[in-house]
Every structure is written in C-alpha cells, then in structure tokens.
C-alpha cells in the first residue's frame, strides 16, 4: 500500500504555482493576439501602417494617462465586475444567464425608485437599503427563469432573453409614467436622495464630517476587518501562533474593534488632510471598494461554502449532484437569483454612482450585461480573475474615444478587439497552434461553461 503523505508535499506547492501560471498564459496570449490582429485590421482599413501606433497610443493614453483617464476606466470597470460575477456564478452552476442586461435594468429601476422614495434617511440606512432593494429586484428577475427551468425544464437562455425585453419595456414604461420627474423636461426619474448615492470619491472628506456617515464607514471597515482577521487566524500561517479557538476569537474581536474605533475617530481627520481624490469632475465613487469585495465574496461563496459546493456540483454534473442528494431545482433557482442579485447591484451602481442626473433616464443604454459575458469567459468564470478582465474591458471602453479622435480609427474597432479576445479565449486550440504550445497531457476540460439544450 502506498500511504504517501500527500498533503503539503512540495510537488503540490509547485504545481499550484504552475497551475496559476498555466491558467494565466492562455488569456494573456489571447489578449496579445487580439491586439496584434487588431493592428493588422487597423493598418488595412486605414491603408497606413503608421496609424497603428497612433491608434494604440491614443487608446492607452485615453484609458490611463489623460486627465481622469484612469478614473473613468475604473468607473466603467466597477459595473463590469458585478455584472461579470453574475455571469460567472451562473456558469459555475451550469447556467447561461444571458439575462444579466435585463436584471441590470431592473436593478437600476429599483435603485432609482427606492433611492428617490425617502429623503431623510441617513446614508447608514438608505444606501444599504437601496443596494439590497436593487439586489432583490435583480434576484427576482433572475429567479423567474430559474423557477421555469427547475419546474418545467424550459431553457434559461430563451427565458432570460425574453425577460430582457420585458425589463426594457417595463423600465421605459415606469420611467416615462410612474417614476417620471414631472419637473424635468427630460424624461427621467426623480433624483435620488444624496444619502442614497454611492459617494463620489471627491465628496468623501466632506461626507465624513457627518458623524452618522463616519459610523457607516467605520462599520463597513469593521465588517471587512472581521472577515480578514478570521481568514488570517483560520487559513494562514498566523493560525499557528494561537493555541485555542478562544484566543483566535479574542484576536479577531480585538482587531475588529480597534479598526472600527480608529476609523471612526481618525478617518474623518485623515481624509481632510490627505485624500488623493479632489477633482470634483472625477466620477470615481466608493463602488471602487464594493467591486473587489463582491468578487472576494463570490469566490468565497463558490469555493469555501456548502452552498457553493452544491452550486458547482449541479453545474459540473447534475446527475452526480442528484445522486449525492443535492436538490437540483433549488440550486438552479438559487444560482439564478444570486446571479440576478449581482446584476441588479451593477445596475444600482450606474444610477447611484455614475449617472450625472443621479436618476434613471429614458433610453439609458448600458450594454454592460452583454460585455460581461465576454469578461466572464475571459476570466474562465473565476471570480478573482474577473477583476483584471473587467479592468481590461473598462479601459478599452474608456480609451476608445481618444483613439478615434487621434487616429480616425472608428472606436468600434475596440468591439472587434474584444470579440477577438473572446474568440481566442473560447478556442484555446487556436492560440496554442499560433504560439506553437504543446498540448498539455491532462487536458481535461476544466469548467463546462455551458451545457447544451435541455437537461
């Protein structure tokens, strides 16, 4: 009998690193290839090779270096992150949620309605309330196709697409009738309460002078610290420094309280003196912290909890899930609801943090929901991988304008490059062929991103 100590073998540690590198090499090569091919297309369509550097330099400058370039890239990245997490969560459960766009609309709609419904609630209550409402709205919108699939086997692709159209028209109807701001000449909803806004970065120091807002931020930081400390004492080497569970608990509690108190007393002062965001035209908002928090939460939910285990099992092999006693229908509905909730949050961000009018205008067209499918694929449905993927797409979306201005190359070339990235990611064989990579021996497909029709 070979009773080898398998855990923590050096071989294992090395392969973890190698695996990460392996997982990254394909998307990176795909991106590179897409830009090379994009260059060829720019050169051909403009009939001039020298357009290529002009275009790409414009793109990079627009995305990162022009005034507020980086900020605007991040502004576009934030909803991308949430919407892509929605798609990825669906993928993990074996569901192709094309309804992210519709759920995004419902989230925007709910956020606009709830944000404008109250005027005197402190941010401490109002902002979480709006976000929860938007998540719930998206969740309901996602759960409907989920229930249809669980009960009747109706395919989610068809039903989420149809739910999209219902969402568009419902939004139009409510924006132009029930929720319409009669005082405005434009067809749009009533402006939301400032307390429901996702704070613009430039306004943070001013807002923190209100003690209620300071408590709000201190609470958020405390919650984050709590989970961080818990992770530290349970999952990292720090754990060895504690003998008992009580000690670990004491450490976690102490750290949490210290951070909360420090944040409450010193953060307002600190932001008055040092705060990098002072430009009032900068649209960057505190969703910047929400997006990675959401990614980490989704990664935790999928990989570290029984809920995620069930979702992934249903996604990877429904028959085995049934065999193991997992309720498939329940998990399909749950996955669609969670996916919809994330999409709804993305929609809320657009209203609460980005839109100039702090409202939902008619003919508001986002397109985030569809781009997010590409982003989720590029990240191979990995929640953490979605952060850089979203940033890439956000930067491309933002840099395209300056590229067009500088080189005369249509900004739609960016869509083309995005499509090429997606093509190369979806067909790793092409990348491998073009880069002469050897096929890996254990090329067992890792994630079944979607399954075919029917169940």
């Amino acid at each position: 009998m070979s009773n080898v100590a398998l855990k923590n073998s050096p071989n294992d540690a090395r392969s973890a690193f190698a695996k990460t590198l392996d997982a990254l090499s394909n998307p990176l090569l795909a991106i590179l290839l897409a830009f090379v091919l994009g260059a060829v297309i720019i050169a051909i369509t403009s009939g001039n090779i020298s357009t290529v550097p002009v275009a790409y330099i414009g793109l990079i400058e627009g995305a990162f270096f022009k005034t507020r370039g980086l900020s605007e890239s991040l502004v576009a990245t934030i909803p991308y992150v949430l919407a892509s997490l929605a798609v990825a969560l669906g993928f993990k459960a074996g569901l192709f949620n094309i309804g992210v766009e519709g759920q995004f609309y419902i989230g925007s709609l709910t956020a606009a309605a709830v944000g404008a419904a109250f005027h005197d609630l402190p941010a401490l209550i109002h902002l979480p309330l709006v976000l929860i409402a938007a998540a719930l709205g998206g969740a309901v919108w996602g759960a409907i196709p989920g229930i249809l699939k669980a009960k009747t086997g109706a395919h989610e692709v068809i039903n989420t697409i149809m739910m999209n159209y219902i969402a568009y028209r419902l939004t139009e109807f409510l924006v132009s009738n029930v929720l319409r701001d009669k005082a405005s000449s434009a067809v749009q909803t009533i402006r939301i309460s400032p307390n429901a806004e996702l704070w613009n970065m430039a306004t943070v120091p001013a807002r923190l002078t209100d003690p209620l807002n300071a408590i709000f931020i201190a609470l958020l930081l405390a919650i984050t610290t709590f989970f961080f400390a818990r992770w530290l004492v349970l999952r990292t080497r720090v754990a060895a420094r504690f003998q008992t569970a009580a000690q670990k608990r004491a450490f976690t509690t102490a750290l949490t309280f210290m951070v909360a108190l420090a944040a409450f007393f010193f953060l307002p002062l600190l932001t008055q003196t040092v705060w990098p965001w002072t430009d009032p035209y900068d649209r960057l908002h505190i969703g910047l912290f929400l997006a990675p928090a959401a990614a980490v939460s989704v990664a935790w939910l999928l990989n570290k909890t029984t809920i995620g285990f069930e979702l992934r099992t249903v996604g990877a092999n429904p028959s085995a899930a049934q065999y193991a006693g997992i309720n498939i229908g329940k998990n399909i509905v749950l996955a669609m609801a969670l996916s919809g909730a994330l999409a709804g949050l993305a929609g809320a961000i657009e209203v609460l943090g980005v839109s100039i009018c702090r409202c939902l205008p008619l003919f508001f067209s986002a397109g985030y929901g569809f781009d997010s499918i590409a982003i989720a694929l590029l990240a191979r449905a990995d929640a953490i991988g979605i952060l850089p993927s979203s940033f890439l797409f956000g930067a491309l979306r933002n840099g395209a304008d300056l590229m067009e201005l500088r080189s005369g190359v249509s900004k739609h070339v960016i869509s083309l490059i995005q499509a090429l990235v997606l093509l190369f990611v979806a067909a790793p064989a092409i990348v491998r062929y073009l880069t002469r990579q050897k096929t890996k021996a254990d090329a067992v497909a890792d994630v079944p991103l979607t399954r075919g029709w029917g169940r």
Binding site: M1, S2, N3, V4, A5, L6, K7, S9, N11, D12, S15, R235, K304, T305, T306, I307, F309, R312, T313, A316, N317, S319, A320, A321, Q322, Y323, A324, G325, I326, N327, K438, T439, K440, A441, D442, A443, V444, A445, D446, V447, P448
Partner: protein, 514 residues
C-alpha cells in the same frame, strides 16, 4: 502459418501517453486470436489503428503479406477488415436491411437516384442477408426494426453487417459483455463457423474463461506493450492474469460463510417505470439481511438500473414499499435515503458516481460535505476535507498524484476506488453496488471485491447487482435472477450453478430448483 494480418513495431503516441509501444501482432488465416489486457493497455488503440481510425506514428501493417496503409474505416472495409464495436453502430429506428446496406449506399454515392437505387438494393440485400444468416446460423429478421430487437440480435446484425461487406478479418470488441452465458456460447459457435469459411477473427475480451473457450491463440497487452502470445493449451487463468497485471493475482476471493442477521432492506411488490413509462421493475419483492450479500444476476437492461435507482431515491416508485431497517423509504429523497445509512456505488461512475472536473478530495466528500466535521455552518473546512482525503487515499490505495488532482484524470480503477472509499467510509447499514467492477483491471477488481466482502463481515447488508456471472458467483451468498423486470428465483449461492443461472438469465424458469 500464413498470415491474414501482420503488424510490426506499431507505435502510437498521444500527448503524454505512449498508447502503443513497438507492438507486434499477427493474425493467422483462419484463427481466432484473443487479445487480452486491462483498460488502458492499448488494445483499443491497436484495433483502431488496424481499423483505420488512427494512423500509427511508426510501424507497418501487412495484409496477406503485402505492406499496406489503412487510411480510414472506409479503407479498412475496402481491404476486407470489419469491426463489431462494443457499442453498436446501428440506427435504431431503421430496419435490419436498412442498417446493413447503410454504408454500402454511401459507398456508391448515387445520391441523385438514391430513392430508386435503395429499392433495388433492398431486394438484393434481403436475399444476401438471408443467405448469410443461414450460412452462419445468425438468425435475424431482415425486416425487423433494430430498436425492437434484443441486444443479442442487434449484435448479430452487426456481425452480418461486417460479413455483408465481405470482411475477411473481423475484429470483435468485447462482444460478450451484453450477452447471457448461453448467448455467448452461441456466439462462439458462430465464430467457429466463420473460421471454417476461411475468415480470421480478433476477439477482445477481459473474461479469461472465454479465452479458453474459443481462441486458438491469446496475446496479452500491458501498458502499451505486447507482453506475449500463447495458446490456451499452454496457459492457465492465473498465468494470463499475471501477464495482464504484471504481478500475481488472486482470482477467487476467499470468504467465510455468511452470518446473516436482522433484515435491513425489505422490498415489497415494487413497481418502477422508466422515462418512457415502460414497466421496468414488475412486482419485485426481496430482502437483504445484515451480514450477507444478495446478488442480483441478469443481463443488462432487465430492470436492474431502475430497481437500484428506485431503492436509492433517484427514481420515483410506481407502487410497492421499500423499508430500510423498518423505516419506510419508499418515496424519500436521495439525501434522506443516504441518511438512513444507505450507500450506493452506482452503475455509471462517470454519470452518477463522480464529478470528473472536481478534485479527488471533493469527490470523497460528495455525500457528506454538509456534515460535521467537513462543514461548520455554511463554511467547508478545507483542512478536514484534505485530512479525510489523505486518509482514504492511503486506506483504499487510490493512486493519484495528489488529493487535489481532478478525479477525471485518474484511471477507471482508481476512480472506482474513490467511489468505494467514499461509500464505505460512512457508517452504512446497507450497501448497494451496481456493476462495481465493469471495465476495471484485474487488480482493481480483486481489491474492490475484497472490500465488499469486508463490509459484509462487518455486518453490512450488501445488495450486489451485476451482469458478470463470475462476480455474482464469487461474492454473493444468495443469488436472485432478474429477467424482464421480475425476480425469477432466489437461489442459495452454495448450490447454484453457472448453467442454472444462465438459463434463468435467459428467462427459462424450468430446471431451476431452490
């Protein structure tokens, strides 16, 4: 000896695997050449090369002593090589004639006048099919629809199809897997008949007994290499098994007499339908006691799968009652059944038993991930899972690079060990195993059989469903035979004979004594 086919130094590499390494194989004219080997030994690769599905990286193939290349299955047929696959290549809604002429039609490529030509072919084909069936004793009704035929008859259609194409060399890939022992004996007669007509056969099987029953020579492959060739006269089962595995193997499991205790599983008048609402389990009643193994023998497709799925909550029960230790589990969900102490090694390990894209560790806790100590609240304790996985990997000798390796990249035997380890590690009252060793190598079979007997000796009630009569005979304490959804007879394993069971498996009830 004149050779119908010779293969010299065949080498075929797949990424990371040397599937065939300098393999030499020859087939004398008019012989039945048995090919033996574990899964992954390279038998299928070699046959696929001979049938033109793969091109070898090195080596040469000689037909009738002339070097040749076989570029495609079409080409193989042209050169007189036919193959009967393990999974039949038939179109169920078409008739026997249509199935048989299907390839010929496309060969002519007369698409423009296909309708008229098909009519012509049909008449001539029917005559020729009757002639062939008569000549070789392959009874088939040319006008029957394939979907209405039993499995044995479908196999005969496959053989006629190859003969119709005038195959001089016929490759039979595990043809007896779906047959009763009597049907297998009939097949052997047919094979003999084909030899007398000057054809040559390659016969692939993993049942050692059949090697002795029908072959003229036996070749054994292991790890992509040809280990050796011998004749049945010079070989023993133990010798062949050793050649296959590379070490000594215990073929007959040693077990002490059963000491049955209280009844654990009680099934009363059970009725179960399949997806198409056909009655697959029809008024079945039986019981299994603690400390005994009840074997359910029968040819595949006689309702065993539906029976097991109904018992484990995976399939709705039409009528009747199921009790596990006096709990009525008749309409309970799979998880409730599991929690009553029922473990289930499913028939199809890829479909039900494993999540192939998950690591070994996750598959080992597939049924218990939500319980302490693996879960605390909603969080999974990865360290506990890893500890459990390391323990089971050691205990059950699961050969894997690490517990985080995807289970899909393990060999079939190790995959099955993962399932058995998972199911036996719980405090189980009732163990239901369905085809536990299908497609496994001899070494793994031996290991899994021993574990099943050990579970019995610990006082677990075991229900063993298997189409392998040898497996039933060597493991079971009592044997029930399932035929067309009914349990025909329950026999004491001590007095049951292979012949008696074979007849029951074919639905013949006379001559069986309790």
């Amino acid at each position: 000896m004149t050779f119908a086919l010779q293969a010299h130094g065949i080498t075929k590499k797949f990424p990371g695997v040397l599937a065939n390494d300098q393999v030499n194989f020859d087939l004398a004219r008019g012989e039945i050449h048995g090919l033996l080997g574990e899964n992954g030994a390279g038998k299928t690769t070699l046959m696929n090369i001979l049938y033109g599905l793969y091109q070898p990286d090195a080596g040469e193939i000689l037909l009738d002593s002339h070097a040749t290349q076989i570029t495609s299955p079409h080409d193989a047929i042209q050169q007189g090589i036919g193959m009967v696959h393990q999974h039949f290549m038939l179109v169920p809604p078409l008739t026997v004639i249509e199935n048989i002429i299907l390839g010929q039609e496309s060969l002519r490529g007369a698409t423009k006048f296909l309708g008229r030509l098909a009519v012509l072919d049909r008449a001539r084909a029917a005559a020729r099919i009757r002639e062939l069936s008569h000549q070789y004793g392959l009874e088939v009704d040319p006008d029957a629809r394939v979907q209405d035929l039993p499995v044995g008859a479908q196999q005969r259609v496959e053989i006629v199809k190859a003969l119709y194409r005038d195959a001089k060399i016929l490759i039979l890939d595990e043809p007896t897997a779906v047959l009763t022992p009597q049907e297998a004996d009939d097949l052997f007669k047919i094979m003999r008949g084909m030899i007398e007509q000057g054809r040559s056969l390659i016969f692939i099987t993993h049942k050692l007994r059949e090697m002795f029953a029908v072959t003229d020579r036996v070749s054994v492959m292991r790890g992509g290499k040809m280990v050796g060739t011998t004749t049945p006269q010079h070989a023993t089962s133990e010798m062949l098994a050793e050649m296959m595995v590379g070490r000594k193997v215990i073929l007959q499991i040693e077990k002490s007499p059963a000491h049955p205790n209280a009844t654990v599983l009680q099934v009363e008048n059970l009725q179960v339908e399949d997806e198409r609402h056909a009655q697959m389990v029809d008024d079945v009643s039986f019981f299994v006691r603690a400390g005994e193994i009840l074997g359910i023998a029968g040819v595949q497709g006689n309702g065993q799968r539906e029976l097991v799925e109904a018992l484990t909550g995976l399939r709705p029960v039409g009528a009747g009652k199921i009790f596990v230790l006096a709990h009525d589990v008749t309409h309970k969900k799979p998880r409730q059944v599991i929690e009553y102490g029922v473990a289930h090694v499913p028939e199809d390990r890829h479909k039900h038993g494993l999540v192939l894209t998950f690591p070994v560790a996750d598959n080992l806790v597939l049924c218990t991930y939500y319980q302490s100590p693996f879960a605390r609240g909603i969080e999974i304790d990865a360290a506990q899972v890893a500890r459990e996985a390391s323990k089971l990997v050691g205990e059950f000798d699961i050969r894997t690079p690490s517990t985080r390796t995807n289970v899909g990249s393990l060999s079939g035997g190790n995959q099955q060990k993962v399932i058995v380890a998972r199911e036996l590690d719980r405090p189980v009252k009732l163990l239901i195993v369905n085809q536990p060793t299908r497609g496994l190598d001899v070494g793994s079979i031996e290991f899994i059989h021993r574990r099943i007997v050990e579970a019995r000796d610990r006082g677990t009630a075991v229900l063993l469903v298997s189409a392998e009569l040898d497996e039933i005979l060597s493991l079971a304490d009592r044997i029930a035979v399932m035929y067309k959804g009914r349990l025909l007879e329950t026999l004491d394993a001590k007095i049951a004979t292979r012949e008696q069971l074979g007849l029951l498996m074919a639905g013949v009830k006379e001559g069986a004594h309790v």
